[in-house]
């Protein structure tokens, strides 16, 4: 199964697990499986519009999936995804 690494602040919503095994054939599908397994993550990853929050980046083997095919990016069982925020302020 594909593995997703969870950033520290979101681990309270995954029973303290740092890595979650997920199934699905695309980035969108595995993120869907992740939030089905751990529904508390949804509000922190997705805006009310249903889109990923603007600061949420998903890296597939170190490449930003926005630069591949976004949610349609294919994933394999051996792939590893990381959820990483980008930050901004004033």
């Amino acid at each position: 199964m594909t593995t997703i690494r969870i950033p520290t602040p979101l681990r309270p919503y995954t029973n303290s697990q740092a890595e979650i095994a997920v199934s699905g054939e695309t980035v969108g599908a595995v993120l869907g499986d992740l939030t089905r397994q751990h529904p508390g993550l949804r509000q922190h990853l997705y805006a009310e519009s249903g889109e990923l929050r603007a600061f949420v980046n998903v890296f597939l083997n170190d490449e930003d999936v926005r630069h591949i095919r976004g949610a349609e990016t294919p994933v394999k069982d051996t792939d590893r995804l990381m959820i990483v925020p980008s930050i901004a302020g004033g």
């Binding site: 520290t8 890296f59 990483v84 925020p85 930050i87 901004a88 004033g90």
Partner: protein, 141 residues
Amino acid sequence: MLTITQGALGAIQAHGEAAYPNEGVGLLLGTADGEGKTAVTALPLPNTWAPDEQANRYQVTGVDMLRGEKEAARLGLDVLGFFHSHPDHPAEPSRWDHEWATWPWYSYVITTVARGRATVTRSWQLREDRSAFDEERVQLP
């Protein structure tokens, strides 16, 4: 509560002073348990906002954040939050800090750099409902 070690505070202050009159930014790395968080080091990252607006804006790309997360993992530490400087402004979250905040739990450490010298350092956490920042208790060295 957030404990900031001498090493981490020194790095935060030095980066804020080096970036002055612009904002400096980076990651706070350390350990966390049920008692609180301890920042043992601070990792400066590039401010990629437009150069002519860096006196009151900062941005760190996802790629640089990924690099920081990997450095934390290499050191056996967690990313506890972020630090940035407010040149000649109070160490309180700005409207933009709130608007672009990420997740609750992270520490947002803000340091005033007044006329080039780091002075006040405070820390803030986003509320669970994202409605505001609350001040986090900080133990400085």
